[in-house]
Each structure stands twice: as C-alpha cells, then as structure tokens.
Amino acid sequence: MALLTQSEKKKGISTIQGVALAVVVMVLGLVALGSRYNFGVVDYVQFVVDGLRAGAIYALVALGFVAVYRVTGVINFAQGVFIMLGPMMTISFYEQNWFPSLRLNLFVGALLAIAITAVVGIAIERFTLYPARRALPLTKIIITIGAYLALQGGALLIWGPQGHVMPAFSTLTLADQSFRFGGLLLKAQSLWIWSTVLITLALLGLFFERTRLGKAMRACAVNRQAAQLMGIRVDTMATIAFALAAILGAVGGIVLGPVTRPTYDMGLDLGLKGFVAAIIGGMVNFPMAVLGGLLLGVLENMWAGVTQAGFKDLFAFVVLIVMLLLRPRVLSGPEAEGEH
C-alpha cells in the first residue's frame, strides 16, 4: 500500500517475519494445550471464525489508535469511550421508536450515535488535548485516560451499571439468525460485522488515497513540520483524526453490540485490545493494525478455548507487555521512535 514509506516497508517485513514466527509457535502451543480436550477440526475452525469476529472489531479500534497516533503522536486511551458510546446511544435512540419501522429506528439511531460520537471525539481533542499541545507525550496520554474516565463516569450516570440489549441486525431480536455448515456455526451478525469492517476499510483507503483531506493527513503523518510549511493546518488535521477515530470506534461498537451486552464500561477492555492490536501492527501502519487485530482476536479466542475462559484477557495483556518491552519508545510518539 502506498501508505508505507520506503523505510517503513523494510521494517514492516522484518516485523511481519517476527510476528509470523511468533504466531506459528503460539498456534502449535495452543493446539498442544487443546489436545487435552476431545476437540475436532470443526471446533478449531469455530474458534477461528468466532475469533475473526472479535478480531474485526479490534482492527477497527486499532485503526482509530493509528489514525490519531500518526497525525498527533498521541496514544488516545479515550478510544474506549467511542466504542461504548456507539452502541449505548444507538440503543437509547432505538428505544425511542421514532419511526414505525424497527429497522429504520435502528439505522437512524446508529447514524445519530456515530455523528454524536464524532462530536465527542472532536470535543476531546479541542478541549483537553489542544490546550496541552506542547506538553510531553506522557502528559497527553494521562489526559486521554482522564477524559476516558470522566466520560465513562458520565455514561454510568446516564445508562446505569446493567447490561443493555441491542437487537441483532437481521432479526431485530437478541436471538440472531444462524447458519450451519456441518458442525460449524455462523451467525448473521458476524457477516454484518465483517462486511461493515470491509466497507469501512475501503472507504478509509479511498479517503487517504483520493481526497485532499486524506492526503493532507498523510502528509502530517509523514512529516508534521514539512506539512505545516506546505500550508496544511496541522491542528485541524489533529481534530479530524480524532473525529475519524471516534467514527471508527462507534461503528465497531455498534456492529458488535448485538453479540454482547453493551455496558457503560465495555470500552476499557475493547479499547485496550485495540491498542494491543495497533502495537502488534507497529502503531503507524494501517494494514498491519488490521492484521494485528484479526490475529489477536483469533489467538485470544483459541487460547480461551483451550484453557479456562477466565484467562481470555490474560493473553492480550501478556502480548501487550511483551510488545512494550520490545518497543518501549512507542509511547513517546512517532518522532521519538524514529530517533533510535
């Protein structure tokens, strides 16, 4: 993809080799662990299919991280809020029953939720990060964590602690349509998730390749100073990056909504997993972030399958720690990373 500069390409290949090796080792280990159970091939395929579903969401979240990081150099931990706001607001609007058609209710609710989430993203950038634009990256990270906690607290006040029900897109009830191939189970909502992610990726590609705005953002990402000298408003680009991240998060949260029970605190887990996916992908590379998300989803689900389900989150966070140990400078912004 044209997003990769020459030097990134070189590094990307070595990263790919490293990740590929790690993945092969992990898969072998997981299958060895799984031999304790009476699993058939179908069960493993099922783990992969289910994992790809969660992975697709991680990928969307990771894209949000990468978009903000490349343009502003900030790791935006408030990303989790966008994932939560999407489905929560969609449910609230859906339950208003503005239109006679349930489907229209859901569609309009989702669009409104995405729009409002984008506004929230812009507000976070304008009111918390912009005033601190000259601060250290660490300060900015802390600011985003603060913004996350404040907004999550607000969500608790609005929606309460309980899980909410979001209807599956196909049936408009909690019970989704399912397709069976042999012993394999595929839910209609998975198809919605994958197609949404694919469409979003295509639109994102078009945005960066074909529009002036997208090209300007890429310019900011490659070299902020040069972009500024070329007359690009770097601050505006930062705001747009946050809006983009908010939209990506909200879309991911909304399509995921029906397969979980959206709660006010769902953003924390998903946000951190998206961050892990972004780090696996090197933090600056969109296609690698998507790959990182899918890999994380599949491996994590297999791991949960062959061990106790309670250990599921352990996997992602062990990967996070390992990746941070390998590349500790990632948290100090892209410039610092380029220095070594």
Partner: protein
C-alpha cells in the same frame, strides 16, 4: 529529562491501566422488574401508621365485654428503596405499605384475647451498609420495635447481624445468602436471624430431581463469573453427585463476552444437559449461545432465571428450557389445591391494584417476612418487658412456624433451620410459547 525515567513512568502507567482493566468492578446483575425505580402512582397509605395513641391497658382493669386493647406492636421494616438494589427494594417497600394499611384497619388479637394495633415503621437503607446499621439501631433503641425486617441485599443484611444479635432483637432478612442465617464457621444457626428466601442449594436439589427423572447423568455447568454464579456451581457440585449426576465440564463465563469457546468444550465433553448458573441479564446470553451451538441439548436454568426478562431477552432460544421457580411467579398455573395459589392471587391483586406493576419475587419475600412477623406477634401475650417480648417473638418464629403458608409454599422453621424451605416447594416450569408453565412430575421426560 532522563529517558529512562520517562520509560519507567510509562511502564507504570500502562501497568495501572492493565490492572484497572483486570479489576474493573463487574456491575452486579440484578433481576430487573419493569421500571425499577418507578414510584407507585397511587401509594396505598401514608408511609407511617399513626403513632400509638392508646395507652397500654392496666392489667388490673376489670374485664369488660369489649376486647381489651393492649400495647401497640411495632415492626421495623428496612428495604433498599433507592440505590443499587432499588429494583428489589421498591417492590418490598410497596408490599410493606400495603400490609401496613391492612393491619391498620384490623389490628391483631393476641392469644390472651387482647387486641393490639400494629405499626410498621418503614425505612430506606439506600442500599448502604452504613445506613442500614444506623436505621436498625434507631428502630431498636428509639422506636423499640418487637421485631425487625431488614433488609434487601445479602451484604447489608450481613452488616446488621451483630447489631441485632447484641440487642437481642429478632430480624427477618429478605436477602438470599446462607451466611445471613448461618455462621459459616460453626455451621450453626444465628440465634436472632431468619429469612424466608430460598437458596441456590434448593434450586440444585430440584434440578437434580428432574435430571434423575429424565435419566441424564452427565451435565455441563456454566455459571456467570460473579459470586452468585459461583454459589450456583458450589450448590450443584454438592447436590448433583447425590443423585448420581456427574458434572463433566464446568466453567465460568463473562456475560459481556462476545464469543463463548466454553460451548465447544461442553460439546466435546459429551454432556447431555447444560445447567446455566446465572440470573438475567447473564442467563439469557448463555441460553442463546448454548442453543445456537448445541441445538438439541437440554437447557436447565436456576430459580433466579424464572423471570419475564429471560423470555424477553432470549426469545425463541428460551423455548423448552426448564427450571425450578418460586410459586409466586407461576401462581396462575398452579394446581387449585395448592394453598400458595389463593394466597398469591390475593397478594398479586392487592399489589397490582396499588402499584400498577407486575409482581416480582422480591415483593413475595417482603410479604412472607411480614406474615412471619405478624404470625409471631399474634402468639405474643400482652405485658412483659420489651426484652421478654422480643425473646418470645424469636421463640415463636423458631418453633411455632410449622407448614406456614407463604408465597413460595409451606415453610417449617426449626432451631436448626431458620429458613424452613424445602426444594419440593419449588414449582418446576417449562417455557412454552413465551410463558412459564408448571411442568408436573408425570410430564418430566
């Protein structure tokens, strides 16, 4: 600034985030009746009955034709009408108001023929352990109640165990944990505390009875990752083997999870039924996932899932699932001979008339607690000191409540059992066309 320092700070920061992620408090799922915080549109009576106006009749007064009027008996009632457990505490408070209104009109007559007014003093503990302790002390010391009914949640009920034990006041809790009435260390009943609320052990016994009857010997137990879920699993592990049923696979699940690899293991384990240890909203989530992954397997819920929320959330996937169920929730489909049928019909009518809400099992717990307290007060003769009266009420609760009719069936309390519930008193129901229908034993197959 030293790069190393920055890195250390960053590492600490990430660690904190990870730890927050790991320890994020699980919101306690509460079975949620419709419009939990709604205040009844028509309160049946002012919250407090008027203060005692009649002085105690002097014991030396000559007997007359009219019944003697004795001291006013006082019942202290605390529920969580606001706060986290409001969805449980509000129906409880509403029932207390209904019963208070009834008693205000009739009063009660003691064994010696002396008539007593009964005052129910109703308080809200805001779902807080601190508040409930303060309120309980005030009711015991200032209001001088004969018996206390407190409170909605297990944790807050636990908080006043020492208060009522030291003050020697009988207390009836409306929460479910065994440790409220039983000291977990000594396995002995706590002298002053009672509760009419069935536990997961009873649910497990009833499930085992069903599983045995339908000749299932291998089950999978999937429970939500909360203390409630773990309690259902502990109860099943203790009860099932006694009926020759093996739990071949068990695991906790996160109701917020997006996929359930547990079900692949359930499938691989070859179990013939899945027991779900959870309450809505967690139980319909697993119900749907299990029905999808294993289309023909038997699915069995616990009594906590016997709520319209299950059907509302799980839809078609709930069809054919079976579970033990408190009789109050299936009152209209009980056999006519069942004494719980008429009792529940009366309560449900009074409750829906007063609150315009549908009945919940928590309303039943409050009603049962109040009926136990009233029955004990009816056995209390006039006169004596407050300490004697409290002791007499306690003794009556412990020894005189035999086959006592409640919303959940017949209770028999004893010095070794301050609950008195038998698993046989559970109705066993099946979900049919979106409704809970009693499944008589001869139809278990």
């Amino acid at each position: 600034m030293n790069v190393r320092n920055v890195l250390l700070l960053l590492a600490a920061c990430v660690l904190i985030v990870v730890m927050v992620a790991a320890c994020a408090p699980e919101p306690t799922p509460t079975p949620k009746p419709p419009a939990p915080t709604a205040v009844p549109t028509k309160a049946p009576e002012p919250t407090k009955a008027p203060e005692a106006t009649k002085p105690p009749a002097p014991t030396t007064a000559p007997p007359t034709a009219a019944p003697k009027v004795g001291a006013t008996w006082k019942i202290g009632f605390i529920s969580a009408a606001t706060g986290a457990a409001a969805s449980l505490g509000v129906p409880e408070r509403d029932v207390a108001q209904i019963v208070a209104a009834e008693l205000k009109a009739s009063g009660i007559t003691g064994p010696d023929g002396v008539k007593h007014d009964v005052q129910i003093i109703i308080h809200d503990d805001q779902s807080s352990a601190d508040t409930v302790v303060t309120l309980a002390r005030r009711l015991i010391e200032q209001d001088q109640v004969q018996v206390l009914i407190a409170t909605t949640q297990s944790g807050t009920s636990q908080a006043i165990v020492s208060v009522v034990t030291e003050a020697k006041v009988p207390n009836i809790s409306m929460a479910s944990a065994r440790s409220i009435i039983e000291d977990p260390a000594t396995k002995k009943m706590r002298e002053w505390i009672f509760k009419p609320v069935p536990e997961n052990t009873h649910s497990a016994d009833k499930q085992a009875e069903y599983l045995k009857a339908v000749k299932v010997t291998k089950v999978c137990h999937l429970y939500e990752n909360s203390s409630y879920g773990q309690d259902t699993f502990a109860a099943a592990s203790a009860s099932f083997p006694k009926s020759g049923i093996t739990i071949v696979y068990s695991d906790a699940y996160d109701p917020k999870a997006t996929e359930f690899p547990q079900l692949a293991k359930a499938k691989a384990s070859g179990c013939e039924a899945i027991v779900i240890g959870a309450i809505p909203p967690a139980s319909p989530v697993m119900n749907v996932a299990a029905r999808d992954a294993l289309p023909t397997i038997r699915i069995i819920h616990g009594h906590g899932s016997c709520s319209p929320d299950l059907v509302k959330s799980a839809g078609k996937a709930a069809e054919g699932t079976v579970m033990p169920c408190g009789k109050i929730l299936v009152a209209d489909t009980l056999a006519d001979a069942d004494p719980a049928k008429a009792l529940n019909a009366k309560l449900i009518k009074a409750y829906t008339d007063a609150t315009k809400q549908s009945i919940s099992t928590f309303a039943g717990h409050a009603y049962d607690s109040l009926q136990l307290a009233i029955a004990a007060l009816k056995l209390l003769p006039d006169g004596g000191t407050l300490a004697d009266q409290r002791k007499a009420v306690r003794d009556a609760l412990e020894t005189k409540m035999v086959k006592f009719p409640t919303t959940h069936g017949l209770y028999t309390l004893s010095p070794t059992d301050h609950l008195g519930f038998d698993a046989a008193e559970f109705a066993f129901v099946v979900v049919k066309d979106g409704k809970f229908v009693v499944l008589p034993k001869d139809q278990w197959k």
